[in-house]
């Protein structure tokens, strides 16, 4: 591990990633773009896991990494379901612009 790298560096990186992902999710109108933003948020969380795992928890070094792997699997599943929903929206509305889904309002 390179010297000088501290936990805060990773946290800042993670924060930057999270903010980028959030911005992407909030600002994109394209459904696939929103899914990409969610991937960024998830990966920001993964970095946090691994960083805290590495710097934080005494002898138990692999807990965070295992969680990170779970999150990756979850992200894959989420991408599948999200894409399937997007496909369904496209079939019904001939667009993947999420503003079109306002017809689903209560």
């Amino acid at each position: 591990m390179a010297a000088g790298l501290t936990l805060n560096h990773f946290l800042v990186l993670s924060l930057i990633l999270f903010l980028l992902g959030s911005y992407c999710v909030l600002s994109r109108r394209n459904a696939i773009g929103i899914l990409l933003g969610i991937e960024l948020i998830l990966n920001a969380a993964n970095i946090n896991y691994i960083a805290f795992s590495f710097y934080g928890s005494g002898g138990m070094k692999y807990d965070g990494q295992v969680f990170a792997i779970f999150v990756i699997m979850l992200a894959a599943a989420e991408a599948v379901i999200g894409l399937a929903i997007i496909l369904a929206i496209y079939q019904n509305l001939r667009t993947i612009d999420v503003s079109a889904t306002e017809t689903l309002s209560g």
């Binding site: 959030s22 999710v25 909030l26 109108r29 929103i34 999420v98 503003s99 889904t101 306002e102 017809t103 689903l104 309002s105 209560g106």
Partner: protein, 685 residues
């Protein structure tokens, strides 16, 4: 008396008619359809004849025993045992009851045989014989019952059977209402009898001997002397008066006699059975049976004798003007029963029973003769449409004549022996007024009986041609019975001759052990006049002859006109008599109408007040449930609907939050996260 002979066969005297009745009631219709009427009559008559044979056996067995031991007891089973009252179903035969048994089954049985001819065309032949047998059974229970309750069972039984037989042809309203009338008047008497039994039982219980067994009652009765009863009378007077009121119901005396003339609605053999052998003799028998009790109550005895005498004259005067052949006989029955009550009322019990016996013979003969006439006339009962029948119905005529001579008291016929005995006894025991009344009654009896004979059998035939063509003597089953009864009317009096002719009175000697209580003997010995009997008999005969002559002049030789006579008396006595002194109407006004009004008032009360209350309750319930329904609809359902409606309304408002804009959701999410973080930061500091 302490050791009665136990005999097993006595029960069959009573039970055989019951068995006959049961067979005919249960299977009579089938028997009649499959085997014919003959089979039904074999069952009905056979039971009674077998019973009569047993009665004769008991009679001869009794004759063979010494006079002190002429008692038989057949104890069947313990009936009930309540409080101190222990009663058995047991039959008690003594000289009095055996005489009654022979009269009841003998005369009753001959009426059975007569009925096989008289009722031959009736479709309900079996029913008739079933009821006749049951009637005989009830009367035998009354006569033979060893205690007063069993006697009362028979007492009620004859009332029931008379009701059914009087209303036998029930399809006509007159007949059924006559049956009802008989039953209801009897109920009044029965009520009095029950009251008497309870009072007697209570009084005997008060002296430590609660019992209703007749011979025990006889033993303990003297202990009751001087004990206070009810209504200011001594207990014995009260009990005997109530019993006598019961007897007036059964035996058709004033005041409860009006049912008997209406009882003519039944078939003629029934009239004969009721009048001669069974029902009406019950009261006389009861007084004679309880002689030890009545003899202790001189006041009651006077009432009995006075009522008997008044009834005898009263009914005789009604008989004078009646036109219905059976109705005349009905009033003569009431009159003759009055004589019997005088007999037992003055203490001459044997004379009363003797007259009961001879009356059974000649009254059965008269009624069956009348039945034979009615049969020949095709149902005609009005004597004004008869006449000259003596050539067409010789047997009926001669037997009817014999019975008429008997009832009028012409020697040597049976009625002379018995009736004159009673008339004389009344005088002998110091009741000259009663003697006078009876003496007048005897003359009137002669008049109306010969009036009947002349109207029916003498003169020209006054009916229609069709009836004249149809006239015929009755079949053998009827005429043979008439002959037997006619002979008995002639010779039946020979068992007790008047003392001025000869001291020959086997009946009285035979009955003596029954009437041997000290008080009865004292009563019988209470006489002032002796040795005048012969002269009094001549006096009676003279008046009877006058009555006969009067009837002869009026109705046969027509030297006197009946119409002229009724006009001569200004019509009033005639109309009184013809209208039966309007006793029925008086009862109608005094009892029936108020009763009907009371029932109508009760019905009105029931309809308007009771039903009104019920309806009010119903209305209240309906109103209450309407209120409850309102509460349910508006309050309970309202709460439920409120919950539903508020949920609906809340949903309607809240769904606007769901815009469908994903970006909107995300901004909301972010905002919420930031608020949480902010709050956390604020709270942490």
């Amino acid at each position: 008396m302490d050791n009665p002979q136990p005999v097993e066969f006595v029960r069959w005297i009573v039970l055989l008619p019951l068995i006959g009745a049961a067979i005919n009631f249960l299977f009579g219709a089938t028997i009649q359809k499959s085997f014919g009427r003959r089979a039904v009559s074999i069952v009905g008559c056979g039971a009674v004849i077998a019973s009569f044979v047993l009665g004769l056996r008991a009679f001869f067995q009794m004759l063979a025993a010494p006079p002190d031991h002429r008692f038989m007891l057949d104890d069947l089973w313990r009936w009930f045992d309540i409080g101190g009252l222990k009663l058995d179903v047991a039959f008690w035969l003594d000289p009095l009851s055996i005489v009654m048994v022979l009269i009841v089954i003998g005369v009753g049985g001959s009426i059975h045989i007569y009925s096989t001819g008289y009722m031959h065309e009736d479709p309900s032949y079996w029913r008739f014989f079933a009821w006749l047998n049951l009637f005989t059974f009830a009367m035998l229970t009354l006569v033979l019952g060893d205690n007063l309750w069993l006697m009362f069972v028979g007492w009620e039984g004859v009332g029931l059977c008379s009701f059914a037989l009087i209303g036998f042809w029930y399809s006509e309203h007159n007949n059924t209402s006559a049956g009802n009338k008989a039953f209801i008047y009897n109920r009044v008497g029965d009520w009095a009898f029950v009251v008497a039994l309870y009072s007697l039982f209570a009084a005997l219980g008060a002296v430590g001997h609660p019992t209703l067994v007749i011979r025990e009652v006889a033993h303990y009765t003297p202990m009751l002397v001087g004990r206070p009863g009810y209504a200011g009378m001594s207990v014995i007077t009260f009990v005997t008066l109530m019993m006598f009121l019961g007897a007036t119901g059964k035996s058709a005396q004033i005041p409860l006699f009006v049912w008997l003339p209406d009882a003519m609605a039944g078939p003629t053999p029934v009239s004969a059975l009721i009048h001669a052998a069974t029902m009406v003799t019950a009261g006389v028998y009861m007084v004679a049976r309880l002689n030890f009790l009545f003899s202790l109550a001189p006041a009651t005895m006077l009432v009995v004798a006075a009522v008997g005498a008044i009834t005898a004259l009263f009914a005789a005067t009604i008989g004078v003007t009646q036109n219905d052949i059976k109705r005349v006989l009905a009033y003569s029955t009431i009159s003759q029963l009055g004589y019997m009550f005088v007999g037992v009322g003055v203490g001459a019990y044997a004379a009363g029973i003797f007259h009961l016996m001879t009356h059974a013979f000649f009254k059965a003969c008269l009624f069956l003769g009348a039945g034979s006439v009615i049969h020949a006339m095709g149902g005609e009962q009005d004597m004004r449409n008869m006449g000259g029948l003596r050539h067409k119905l010789p047997i009926t005529f001669w037997t009817f004549m014999a019975a008429t001579l008997a009832i009028c008291g012409i020697p040597p016929f049976a009625g002379f022996m018995s009736k004159d005995e009673i008339i004389w006894d009344a005088f002998e025991h110091g009741h000259p007024w009663i003697w006078l009344v009876l003496w007048l009654g005897a003359g009137i009896t002669a008049f109306y009986m010969f009036r009947q004979v002349y109207l029916t059998f003498f003169g020209e035939f006054r009916g229609t041609h069709e009836q004249e063509h149809h006239l015929h003597e009755s079949p053998v089953s009827m005429s043979s019975v008439l002959t037997v009864l006619g002979v008995l009317s002639l010779a039946g009096g020979a068992v007790m001759l008047p003392k001025f002719i000869a001291h020959f009175a086997p009946l009285e000697d035979f009955l003596d052990p029954v009437f041997d209580s000290p008080q009865t003997l004292a009563m019988a010995a209470h006489g002032t006049q002796r040795g005048l009997e012969g002269y009094f008999a001549v006096l009676s005969l003279a008046l009877v002859a006058a009555g006969w002559l009067f009837a002869d002049l009026t109705y046969r030789s027509s030297k006197l006109s009946a119409e002229r006579m009724s006009e001569f008396a200004a019509g009033l006595p005639y109309r009184l008599s013809f209208g039966k002194y309007y006793v029925d109407e008086a009862y109608d006004v005094a009892v029936v109408r108020p009763y009907m009004m009371a029932t109508r008032a009760a019905a009105w009360f029931d309809l308007h007040i009771i039903d009104g209350l019920v309806n009010l309750a119903a209305v209240i319930t309906v109103f209450g449930s309407w209120l409850s329904g309102l509460f349910d609809n508006y309050v309970v359902d309202g709460l439920v609907n409120l919950a539903a409606n508020s949920t609906l309304a809340a949903g309607g408002r809240l769904r606007r939050l769901q815009t469908g804009s994903i970006n909107g959701y995300l901004y909301g999410l972010l905002a919420a996260v930031m608020v949480i973080l902010l709050l956390q930061a604020v709270l942490r500091t």
